[in-house]
């Protein structure tokens, strides 16, 4: 019973983090047609910001918002320096630009900070277990899941209710019409990057907490997973990204639990094969986005 419930929590926890990262990717893609491969580095920036503030003795409840702010502002700067000059260029140009930004940031972290992992001392309570009635659950996956779901929930609510959110959704469907209605294009793009960076920062802290440290290449794996999740869900669709994230997380944990030990090293390969199988049946993903016009 404990085991099953713990696996469910693990699945939700892994899935929620994938969903959070995929959501950030989907936001930018929906508005600009840009798959931001430097999104993983925004996570790394958040994780470093958190680790350094923690090392300086800043409590965790201040460290997390600081990390989110660091990633969000980095995302806005990234847009200004790297992506604005190539706005409206073809998908290949956008893609290569973001890959270049990603590699440059990874190298910069190695040179400026250190190629070695940096860890942060997190409160011990995170590594303990809680007893919920008869069952016992690890705290960290539980906190990760709750935080990631909360983060995604805030973004989704902002997209549904706020002026900025509605403008972003309008721009994602048809940027020309949105501008014709008087909504400033530049502001929408900046807010999109800001929100995308903010979720990357939160995801970076959670990811770092789960593995215990941050290193210059930390963002690569979650980016890959989130990209797969976003494609699985339907690239450019925010609800699709969230669904894809949870589906991918659940698939990984299920296989982890039930695969024979000899096959465990091939877990990711098997998961990706299953994703490809899904995509052959539903080539545009589980919840396809309606693609509008790009800037």
């Amino acid at each position: 019973m404990d085991e099953v419930l713990q696996q469910v929590v693990n699945a939700v926890s892994v899935g929620a983090v994938y969903a959070l990262v995929a959501l950030g990717l989907a936001l930018v893609y929906s508005v600009l047609g840009l798959i931001n491969f430097a999104h993983g580095e925004l996570m790394t920036i958040g994780a470093y910001a958190f680790v350094f503030t923690a090392m300086a003795g800043v409590p965790i409840f201040l460290g997390v918002p600081f990390a989110i702010a660091a990633s969000a502002s980095s995302a806005v700067v990234m847009e200004r320096i790297a992506f604005r000059p190539v706005r409206g260029a073809g998908p290949t140009t956008l893609l290569l630009t973001s890959v270049a930004v990603s590699v440059m940031l990874q190298t910069a972290f190695q040179m400026v900070i250190s190629p070695l992992p940096r860890g942060a001392q997190l409160p011990d309570v995170l590594y303990q277990a809680v007893h919920l009635g008869p069952v016992q659950l690890s705290v960290l996956p539980l906190v990760s899941a709750v935080t990631a779901i909360l983060g995604s929930g805030i973004v989704v609510t902002a997209l549904r209710k706020s002026d900025i959110g509605i403008s972003i959704r309008a721009a994602a469907e048809d940027f020309t019409v949105t501008r014709l209605l008087g909504v400033p294009a530049q502001q929408v793009v900046q807010w999109t990057f800001l929100m995308s960076g903010a979720v990357a920062g939160l995801a970076g802290v959670i990811w770092m907490a789960q593995r215990g440290s941050v290193d210059p290449l930390m963002g690569a794996i979650p980016l890959l997973k989130a990209f797969v999740a976003a494609v699985l869900g339907g690239l450019g669709s925010v609800p699709g990204a969230i669904l894809g994230g949870f589906t991918l997380g659940a698939g990984e944990i299920l296989l982890q639990a039930f695969l024979p030990t000899a096959l465990l090293p091939f877990r990711d390969g098997i998961v990706f094969a299953l994703v490809i199988a899904v995509l052959t049946v539903r080539p545009r993903g589980l919840m396809p986005a309606r693609l509008g016009e790009r800037v």
Binding site: R169, T176, R179, L180, L181, G182, V183, A185
Partner: protein, 238 residues
């Protein structure tokens, strides 16, 4: 109110509008007629700023607006309802109206503005929570007009509002445009349905291959409609 002088629009090698002069007075309803490809939509796009005029000047109340980005022109009070209506189908009816309000200079509350729209287009009130993509063509046309109305535009540009509508709905659209004009809007109306447009217009201009070939009060255009149709609108005598 609006003045174009010597305006040229080019798409690469294609010369869509040639040295166009046009004047629209406040409160007037001017219709631009012409066959397909005559440069009507290009003229509207140049005014709204979604294409650049490659030559000439566009003045809105004495202020040059050519060269400004589309969203700036919209904020100056110019609302273009583009061909195909530009409905945001993944947003609800209410959200479509809200985007329009976000993009406009706010002088009254969103609630006041939407209630004005709902008064004129009651069907939009009923369907305010449905996705705009689920509306019928006629309802989408009303939403497009309603969205422009939310902005309290000084100048309303309409590109083929009756396109794709059943004849009965067309009449309704023209009546609604007429109503907007009676409420003080200045309107530039581009239409394939020349007769419908002339029935409500004050002034008519006809374009042919991007050049202005006719510029006269609408009643005169109505009188000589047969000749006009054959000469300029690309229709054959029946």
């Amino acid at each position: 109110m609006l003045q174009l002088s010597g305006v040229d629009v080019r798409y690469g090698p294609v010369h869509a509008v040639h040295s166009l002069d046009l004047t629209v007075h406040a409160g007037q309803l001017l219709t631009i007629l012409g066959a397909n490809g005559a440069g009507k939509s290009s003229t509207l796009r140049a005014i709204a700023g979604t294409v650049r005029a490659s030559a000439g000047q566009i003045l809105l109340e004495g202020r040059r607006i050519d060269g400004l980005p589309a969203e700036r022109i919209a904020r100056l009070g110019v609302s273009l309802v583009p061909e195909g209506r530009g409905i945001l189908t993944t947003l609800t009816v209410e959200e479509n109206l809200r985007v329009a309000a976000i993009g406009a200079r706010a002088t009254t509350s969103f609630a006041t503005r939407t209630s004005e729209v709902f008064e004129l287009f009651p069907v939009l009130r009923e369907r305010r929570r449905s996705l705009a993509g689920l509306l019928s063509g006629g309802e989408q046309q009303q939403l497009a007009l309603g969205r422009a109305l939310v902005q309290h535009p000084r100048l309303l540009l309409l590109d083929e509002p009756s396109l794709g509508l059943a004849p009965k709905l067309r009449g309704q659209v023209f009546a609604q445009i007429d109503e907007l004009r009676r409420r003080g809007a200045t309107v530039v109306l581009v239409e394939q349905d020349a007769q419908g447009a002339l029935s409500i217009a004050d002034w008519a201009v006809a374009l042919s291959s991007g050049r202005k070939v006719l510029d006269l009060p609408a009643p005169e255009a109505r009188e000589s409609y047969r000749e006009l149709e054959i000469a300029y609108l690309g229709r054959t005598a029946r």
